[in-house]
């Protein structure tokens, strides 16, 4: 019986040692199937993430805390992008959109006005709410704001919006672009420069915007084939001037045939 106990203890010890070393030097294999998807990129993991993974596997609380902080961030983003239903009911779509954009830190211009509205000291809309009830919003400048898919609910109702600047918005992605079709009857200028999450699949949805005259697409790292995208966009929106990408990329190296090969 003693020998049995010894065997059990010994094998247990060996297992613990093996597991610990695996934790430190690799990712835990029994809870991982990453190699199934991307073995071409040898997993080079920094020491920090390795330690974190070790802690993660040992102490549930760490995992809990990390997840918690992430969901807190998501929650605050959701709150900022909430639908301004109350304002909308009392003062109409335009004022609601204005309040929302100013809250995020952007600016707007009403039709017939020369001045832009920006957030005042209180972080609120400074104008007379009742006065603007009937005046449509014509331009929205949401540069660099944390506007999200849900936040667009506040903008999609603006039937006379002519200019929309979404450049450098970190959360604008293909899903957001797929919602812009509601502005198809009015939108003339759109800027998406520096939206790191936008890809060609999002740009493909812009064909809904019949009135679009100017489209800014500087600095979009996620577009796999800028030249080709540019050609195809011009094909579906012949009246629109596209800035930021051009077909020189196609001419440079990616000949159309290679592209075909890539996509087959």
């Amino acid at each position: 019986l003693i020998s049995v106990k010894l065997i059990v203890k010994f094998t247990f010890l060996v297992q613990v040692c093996r597991q610990a070393s695996v934790h430190l030097w690799q990712r835990a294999p029994w809870r991982d199937c990453t190699s199934a998807t991307r073995p071409d990129r040898a997993p080079r993991i920094s020491f920090r993430t390795r330690v974190l993974q070790l802690l993660y596997n040992r102490f549930y609380d760490i995992e809990y805390l990390v997840n918690r902080s992430q969901s807190l961030r998501n929650w605050s983003l959701r709150r900022k992008n909430a639908f301004h239903g109350y304002t909308r009911e009392r003062y109409g779509d335009n004022v609601a959109a204005a309040c929302y954009i100013l809250n995020l830190g952007g600016g707007i211009r009403f039709s017939g006005e020369r001045e832009w509205f920006w957030k005042n000291q209180l972080g609120k809309f400074g104008g007379d709410l009742n006065h603007f009830r009937e005046i449509p919003v014509e331009e929205v400048d949401a540069k660099g704001t944390p506007i999200t898919y849900d936040g667009l609910n506040n903008l999609t109702l603006l039937s006379s919006l002519r200019t929309l600047d979404l450049s450098n918005c970190p959360h604008v992605d293909d899903w957001c672009l797929s919602r812009l079709h509601t502005l198809s009857e009015s939108l003339e200028e759109l800027s998406l420069s520096g939206c790191k999450k936008v890809s060609d699949k999002g740009l493909a949805t812009l064909h809904h915007l019949k009135k679009l005259k100017k489209l800014e697409l500087f600095d979009l790292p996620h577009i796999s084939n800028p030249g080709l995208v540019c050609i195809l966009l011009e094909e579906v929106m012949p009246e629109c001037e596209i800035l930021g990408i051009d077909y020189s990329d196609v001419l440079k190296g990616n000949s159309l045939e290679e592209i075909n090969k890539q996509h087959s």
Partner: protein, 503 residues
């Protein structure tokens, strides 16, 4: 499309071989070349059988635990589990994920997913076209697909794993375009009203509007079109499957590669209020046969989920469902069978561009864009008499030239000039009764749950179905989306839940 499947296949096999465990038996074989160690060889052989005996002793000494100091075969499933999911396609993994997500305490339920084919060569999940739409006629289907869209939009909140890149399912927001002839126009309009009521973003287009929006289309024979503006398109099913799998494994789900060959059941006779005798069955063990060996492992379990896709009819049979010799409900088979569907990849240099939606012609043919380089996918469901036989996944190219191409070229004249580049076939998990999913518990085998029969719209419902089944199991009823109508009852009562928009 073909390329990703090929690489994925290669990667998976590579991964598997790497993970092959080094068993004691293999060590012993390594020594045989040396004469001096012959004796040692015997020793090792004995050791293995001794270890086996020792293990058995241990099991009797420690009932209720499957802890063991020696792992004989790392791929064996655990001996005990709470829930065994048969089939590791997108449905199986989605259910596993939601079970783990909904469990109240960590490791509260032990879930095992049993998949027989680690390379997924036949699973419909990886062979599908990956389309998602809300243009259905049944509110349940519309809501499931709407939820799936929500899920895919926030996929990184649900499925991201620490230290991994964010997930990108390659969602193409192209929308579906359904065309209807004179006869179908009225039904289309009714469907449109249902879809609008349930919150889908769809518009109806007259032939003139259609021509204006898509100049490349031939509107001859089209009386009405319906076009999805949001939340419709296609995505990469392989990425979704892997994301579910990775997340579920990271949450503690056991993955096991083996074939489920049978169940050990017990039965109990009960009497209904009207004095009728009913036989209730319960599955006690799931028998899992290991690949390429005679080894098998019975897994003792409390619940079984049948998510075996096109083969779920067979799995049900193993539990005695569809037994002709009986005269009760158990004699009724589960009406799910494999139906072969071809998908063709073709290149058309002058084909439609960025605005090409997922087009469903009134003839039944469909086509969608694949990437930006002028490649397209297309196909069509055969007629009921023309169903191909399903013993293998060979492609019939004549079907394209004779049936699909004429229809597509008629609708999109630029497709007259095209070249087929490749093709593949996959099995629809076809529900012959009413072409809709079957979700829920079997009335007479009362620990066997079903999630099957999706007949060509399963991928897009996977996140919603996973949640629904997890709710059924852990909460006892549907909590978020009421899918009672898709339960078993309709099969026995004979009440079809017909979906009009089946592609």
């Amino acid at each position: 499309m073909a390329a990703w499947r090929r690489t994925a296949f290669r990667l998976l096999t590579a991964c598997l071989f790497r993970r092959n465990p080094v068993s004691l038996g293999r060590c012993a074989r390594g020594f045989t070349s040396s004469k001096a160690l012959r004796k040692g060889n015997d020793f090792f052989k004995d050791l293995e059988s001794e270890m086996k005996k020792f293990h058995e002793k241990l099991v009797t000494a420690l009932p209720g635990s499957d802890w063991t100091p020696i792992h004989r075969n790392l791929n064996l499933p655990p001996e005990r589990a709470d829930i065994v999911i048969v089939g590791g396609g997108v449905m199986g993994w989605a259910i596993a994920y939601w079970l783990k997500k909904k469990e109240r305490i960590r490791d509260g339920v032990r879930v095992v997913v049993v998949e027989r084919d680690p390379t997924y060569t036949q699973a419909s999940t990886v062979l599908s076209v990956g389309g998602i739409r809300q243009q259905f006629s049944m509110p349940e289907n519309i809501h499931m697909s709407l939820f799936s869209c929500y899920f895919l939009r926030n996929i990184n909140e649900y499925l991201s794993v620490m230290n991994e890149d964010p997930i990108d399912v390659q969602f193409n927001h192209a929308g579906y375009l359904f065309l209807a002839s004179e006869n179908g126009a009225q039904v289309m309009e009714e469907n449109y009203h249902i879809q609008r009521r349930e919150g889908a973003s769809v518009v109806l287009l007259s032939p003139e509007q259609l021509k204006k929006k898509f100049p490349w289309i031939n509107t001859e024979g089209v009386a009405l079109a319906s076009y999805g503006l949001e939340n419709e398109g296609w995505f990469d099913p392989w990425i979704l499957l892997n994301a579910f799998r990775k997340k579920a494994i990271s949450m503690g789900v056991y993955q096991c590669f083996g074939d489920v060959t049978g169940f050990k059941t017990s039965s109990r006779e009960m009497v209904t209020a009207s004095g009728e005798k009913v036989d209730f069955k319960r599955i006690r063990h799931v028998i899992v046969q290991m690949p390429n060996s005679t080894e098998y492992q019975p897994v003792e379990c409390a619940l079984v989920v049948n998510a075996a896709g096109a083969w779920s009819g067979n799995v049900a049979q193993m539990a005695g469902i569809g037994d002709d010799s009986r005269d009760d409900i158990l004699s009724m088979p589960v009406p799910v069978e494999p139906r072969k569907r071809y998908v063709y990849v073709f290149h058309s240099p002058e084909g439609p561009g960025l605005d090409m939606p997922f087009l469903i012609d009134n003839s039944g043919a469909y086509a969608r864009r694949e990437g930006l380089g002028g490649n397209y996918l297309g196909g069509q469901s055969p007629t009921e008499d023309g169903e191909p036989e399903v013993s293998n996944l060979e492609v019939n190219y004549d079907f394209f030239t004779e049936n699909v191409w004429p229809n597509l070229a008629n609708r999109i004249p630029s497709f007259q000039n095209l070249k087929v580049k490749s093709a593949w076939a996959g099995y629809y998990d076809y529900n012959t009764f009413d072409q809709n999913g079957i979700l829920g518990i079997h009335p007479l085998v009362n620990n066997l749950y079903f999630a099957t029969g999706f007949s060509g719209h399963g991928i897009q419902q996977a996140p919603a179905v996973g949640r629904a089944i997890a709710e059924l199991i852990l909460d006892g009823n549907f909590q978020t989306l009421d899918l009672t109508n898709l339960g078993f009852k309709r099969l026995f009562v004979g009440e079809k839940m017909l979906e009009r928009n089946i592609v």
